[in-house]
């Protein structure tokens, strides 16, 4: 049962589509977009609700475009 819940916010306009953040996420939360940003890169995006706020993705992002949020869950809140 998860005790924490995370969310990531990616500045998709600044993402360079390097994909380094994808394999370091053990929750498979990140995938690359089909669409391009204005610089022509496929950008990283959050695709599920499994993020636990571990910050791995943000640590390896060379462009520092990922912000990570995390909350502690009260047991009852885990439905």
């Amino acid at each position: 049962m998860a005790k924490v819940k995370g969310e990531i916010v990616i500045n998709s306009e600044r993402c360079k589509g390097c994909e380094l953040c994808v394999p370091v996420c053990q929750q498979q939360t990140i995938a690359m977009s089909d669409k391009l940003n204005s610089k022509g890169y496929h950008y990283a995006m959050s695709i599920n609700d499994e993020c636990n706020g571990c910050i791995n993705c943000a640590l390896v992002c060379p462009d520092g475009v990922i912000s990570v949020y995390r909350v502690k869950l009260k047991d009852a809140a885990v439905a």
Partner: protein, 259 residues
């Protein structure tokens, strides 16, 4: 009823656990996608922020892809002629000993044209930090062979691979300067995985502390990728780096500071 957790309720300032340090300027980095220079920059700035050194720091930028580091690091900076950053940093630190002074240099800058400056600054034991990003190639100029290029590695100037008989061996300048009594802390790290990023940040913290404690020159090598120069995707380049660069340039501390 429990309050429902929404994306909006989680993404609140009080729940923020990681974001880019404000000591990185808002400018988009000029580096190729996936290049380790960006991560290396950010870690140095995180340490300077956490140790509250922004207003007393002077960085020295090299010639190489990171020539524009002064555009990205929100601190006072001076850009040096190719390879001369340790000499410039020496002058700055000697005149302004209360400043925190570091150089940031690539392998072409530090271990080719600047070999003399590097070795003598280390040998003099200048009380500065050197952050050395070794990607085994001249990234900026289009991927020419560097002294750090691996045996048999193909580059623009070794198109059949580096033949060690005619072109020499990869220069392990970090091991060389560790032998000098002027250096106090010498380590080799990388920034390609979350665990390595954490270790590199600790190494940078230690290097900064050595300077604050006036212990002499601390030297942090970061083995990094040049996916453009190596002609690989960023993920391929990191894997290639683990398999090929790390056996020649093994990670870990080479010299630890005396207590």
């Amino acid at each position: 009823m429990e309050e429902e957790l929404t994306r909006e309720s989680i993404c609140q300032q009080e729940n923020l656990v990681y974001s880019r340090t404000p000591l990185m300027t808002p400018k988009a980095l000029s580096y190729c996608p996936g290049c380790g220079h960006g991560t290396a920059h950010r870690l140095i700035m995180e340490v300077i922020e956490e140790m509250n050194l922004q207003s007393q720091t002077i960085g020295v930028a090299p010639v190489g892809c990171s020539v524009l580091a002064y555009d990205f690091l929100d601190i006072d900076m001076q850009q040096a002629a190719h390879g001369r950053a340790p000499a410039v940093a020496t002058g700055i630190k000697r005149l302004l000993p209360d400043k925190f002074v570091f150089t940031y240099q690539g392998d072409g800058d530090l271990a080719a044209i600047g070999t003399g400056e590097t070795i003598h600054a280390c040998n003099r034991g200048e009380n500065i930090c050197i952050f050395f990003v070794n990607n085994g190639i001249y990234g900026m100029t289009g991927g020419q062979m560097a002294p750090t290029t691996l045996p048999n590695m193909k580059t623009a100037t070794s198109p059949y691979g580096r033949d060690v008989v005619s072109m020499g061996y990869p220069l392990k300048i970090t091991e060389m300067i560790a032998m000098l009594p002027g250096t106090c802390f010498v380590t080799r790290q990388s920034v390609h995985t979350p665990a390595n990023v954490r270790k590199t940040k600790k190494a940078i913290q230690k290097a900064v502390q050595c300077q604050l404690d006036k212990k002499g020159l601390s030297f942090v090598e970061i083995v990094s990728n040049c996916n453009s120069g190596w002609k690989m995707t960023p993920l391929e380049s990191n894997k290639w780096m683990e398999e090929n660069m790390f056996p020649v340039f093994p990670l870990g501390d080479i010299k630890v500071p005396k207590p």
